[in-house]
């Protein structure tokens, strides 16, 4: 360590201080520190906070399954659905969860192609979040079909009914969009994990751990050839995932936009949904990572700079969403269609006004606080605002779905949707499922891409006094 301290004193030709960027890994942490810290979270004794989080999550997951079992055994009537509101929390939850996934893909694919190096600290956990959010999302459309044992009819399989699914229906496009998204996200996540799985394997003490990590590391040795193939595969998958960032939520928005319901039949939906999805995804990434960086002592890897950058993304996408809300109203008035105008007036001032204004406060007003650097860099403030984002984006989907349905053209077809306890517990339980999966992930897999973070530490720079090949003979 003495030698290290000496070298730190060496002067380097650095850019002027005002142009200097904050490093992505702080305190001149060594490469070994990165491996030890990150891999250490999945090794050693299970921390108490993990159990404290896992037990309620697991119970929540069981509750979700119990509610789903009750739904299957009894029927869709256990939910508050009825005419005229045939879609409510089920589809709200679907869109909510699938939207959350988008941050993972954006961080892993788009930021990779754009060479945004700050992604490396958060991409692994964001991708895991994506996967688990997709799992939660897939549950809701699958269970809302009523006779769930016939849910395989969603897929174009040959059958003795002699018919195919309706290929002109966006609901079928959804099946393809979401399953493609799930598959590509899983592959992308897994490919990125391979070098780190090999690290875990090489550090493993017990035979079981050696076997499990070794099995999934696919024989990775870190040879030049492995790295070249890996980088090529990663780049290709990034290219493949990038259109998915846009396509998945566009298609989810078609579920509504392609219909003719006033309040749904809107051309702005695809971009507006995509922006909202990224907005909600970054909200969830922050909600998960802010406590995690403290609990796992990762403040030097997931730095305030990372948090701040995500705050900026939230500000940008939140403003796009706010613009879309405004534009919807403008078009409803400017388009001159009385039904359309009524749908939007009813949205803001009808019986669901409280949902609408919750949405506006959480999605449009509160993210504007991110204009201030003081707030962007205040971890507690960012955490609280990120929770507002989550709440707001759930309400957005609720508002779009329920307020558009609850008043049909004829007042005899008016109603007011109220969730039942089963609706509520299923949704709460889906968080249990999500958090269970996420907690298992951080306990058994490296939650930060070790190999990638090493590539962006200041010490990875061969011109850094401590960096490159340590002997300094380059």
């Amino acid at each position: 360590m003495d030698a290290t301290a000496d070298r730190m004193a060496v002067k380097v030709a650095a850019p002027p201080a005002e142009l200097e960027r904050e490093p992505l890994v702080l305190k001149h942490r060594s490469l070994a520190w990165v491996s030890d810290t990150v891999a250490g979270i999945a090794e050693g004794k299970t921390p108490t906070w993990w159990w404290a989080a896992f037990v309620p999550s697991f119970l929540g997951m069981l509750m979700c399954f119990l509610m789903i079992g009750y739904l299957f055994s009894t029927g869709i009537g256990v939910w508050g659905l009825n005419n005229p509101v045939g879609w409510a929390w089920d589809i709200t939850n679907f869109v909510f969860w699938i939207g959350i996934g988008h941050a993972g893909t954006l961080i892993s694919a788009v930021l990779f192609l754009l060479r945004q190096k700050w992604r490396t600290s958060i991409n692994r956990s964001a991708e895991a979040m994506t996967l688990f959010a997709v799992v939660c999302a897939m549950i809701f459309p699958a269970i809302h079909v009523g006779r769930v044992w016939l849910a395989w009819w969603l897929f174009p399989l040959p059958n003795s009914n002699g018919i195919w699914p309706q290929f002109r229906s966006p609901l079928l496009w959804d099946v393809f969009a979401v399953s493609t998204y799930g598959t590509v996200s899983l592959l992308f996540w897994y490919v990125g994990l391979i070098p780190d799985l090999a690290t875990m394997r090489d550090r493993a003490k017990s035979a079981v751990r050696k076997f499990c990590y070794g099995f999934f590391a696919l024989g990775w040795t870190g040879s030049n050839r492995h790295w070249r193939n890996y980088e090529k595969a990663y780049l290709l998958l990034a290219g493949l995932s990038t259109p998915l960032v846009l396509s998945v939520h566009s298609i989810v928005s078609f579920d509504f936009a392609v219909s003719q319901v006033p309040g749904w039949h809107t051309t702005i939906f695809p971009p507006y949904f995509v922006a909202g999805a990224i907005f909600s995804g970054f909200g969830m990434v922050l909600t998960l990572l802010i406590p995690l960086r403290t609990l796992c002592k990762l403040e030097d890897v997931i730095t305030v700079r990372h948090v701040e950058l995500m705050g900026k993304v939230i500000l940008a996408t939140g403003s796009i969403v706010g613009y879309a809300y405004g534009m919807e109203f403008f078009i409803a008035w400017y388009g001159g269609n009385p039904y359309e105008l009524y749908a939007f007036k009813n949205r803001a001032f009808g019986p669901y006004w409280w949902a609408y204004w919750t949405m506006i406060s959480c999605n449009v007003i509160s993210p504007q606080l991110f204009w201030f650097k003081k707030i962007r860099t205040n971890i507690v403030a960012v955490f609280i605002l990120s929770i507002f984002v989550n709440i707001g984006m759930w309400f957005e989907r609720f508002v779009i779905i329920v307020t558009s349905l609850h008043r049909d053209y004829l007042p005899s077809n008016w109603g007011y949707f109220k969730p039942t306890i089963v609706d509520i517990l299923t949704f709460v339980g889906s968080f249990g499922l999500f958090l269970t999966l996420f907690l298992l992930f951080i306990r058994f897999l490296p939650l930060i891409a070790i190999s990638e973070v090493k590539g962006v530490t200041p010490l990875a720079d061969p011109h850094h006094p401590l960096g490159g090949s340590k002997g300094g003979h380059h």
Binding site: P158, N159, S160, N161, G162, I163, R201, K210, F211, G214, F215, G219, T221
Partner: protein, 216 residues
């Protein structure tokens, strides 16, 4: 690596891939064969309470289908006759035969013979016999050559694909109404091609394919 996995495991991925492929094929083929109505329904032949032979009555004696199933032209339902219909003849023929005891009893008491239904459409399917026989769909299409059966058996799958086969191309199946109850009627394909198209055109047949035609 070799300290964790022995060398032979290098072959595993290939073996697993091939195995999964074979397994997938086997499962698909198994479902295709065993889980479709072609297998699950065709061949169903319950033992009936009275050993009534369609072969004897319809084929050998040449009794028209409608003598017994006399509601078929007027109703959605093709009825099974009351014992009285049987007894029109069996009062005189085999009037003391013990095999017909149940029929005579039913005739006396009015309590129906507990026939076991062979052909069932599910509750969610609306099927109307009269419209089909009136527009040239023969009994044979859905029930097979009942006139050759001693004990009635389920001859056709009656799956939705089976219905749609005809609803998509009715001209290939419909015949002149006077041949509907002719169980042995055969036609050359080229004759059917011309006649079928003419029937569809002249009778203005619109074999519906929308969901609510059958699932009302």
């Amino acid at each position: 690596m070799s300290d964790i996995f022995p060398k032979w495991t290098n072959k595993l991925p290939l073996q697993i891939a091939v195995g999964a492929l074979l397994m997938g094929t086997a499962v698909s083929a198994g479902c295709w064969y065993y889980l479709t109505p072609k297998y699950t329904r065709v061949g169903y032949q319950p033992i009936q309470p009275v050993g009534f032979s369609h072969a004897t009555h319809a084929d050998q004696l040449g009794i028209d289908c409608r003598y017994c199933h006399n509601g078929v032209e007027k109703s959605w339902y093709s009825n099974v006759p009351a014992a009285a219909t049987c007894l029109n003849c069996h009062n005189a023929v085999l009037s003391t035969d013990p095999r017909l005891e149940l029929v005579r009893e039913s005739g006396r008491t009015g309590k129906p013979i507990p026939w076991v239904q062979v052909h069932k459409t599910p509750d969610y399917v609306y099927f109307n016999h009269s419209v089909h026989v009136a527009r040239g769909v023969s009994c044979v299409h859905c029930h097979g050559q009942v006139n050759k059966m001693d004990e009635v058996q389920h001859a056709k799958p009656l799956s939705m694909a089976f219905c749609l086969e005809c609803h998509r191309e009715p001209e290939k199946f419909i015949r002149h109404p006077k041949e509907v109850y002719n169980m042995d009627w055969a036609v050359a394909p080229e004759v059917q091609a011309n006649a079928g198209e003419r029937f569809v055109r002249e009778w203005k047949i619109e074999a519906s394919q929308n969901c609510s035609a059958c699932h009302r």
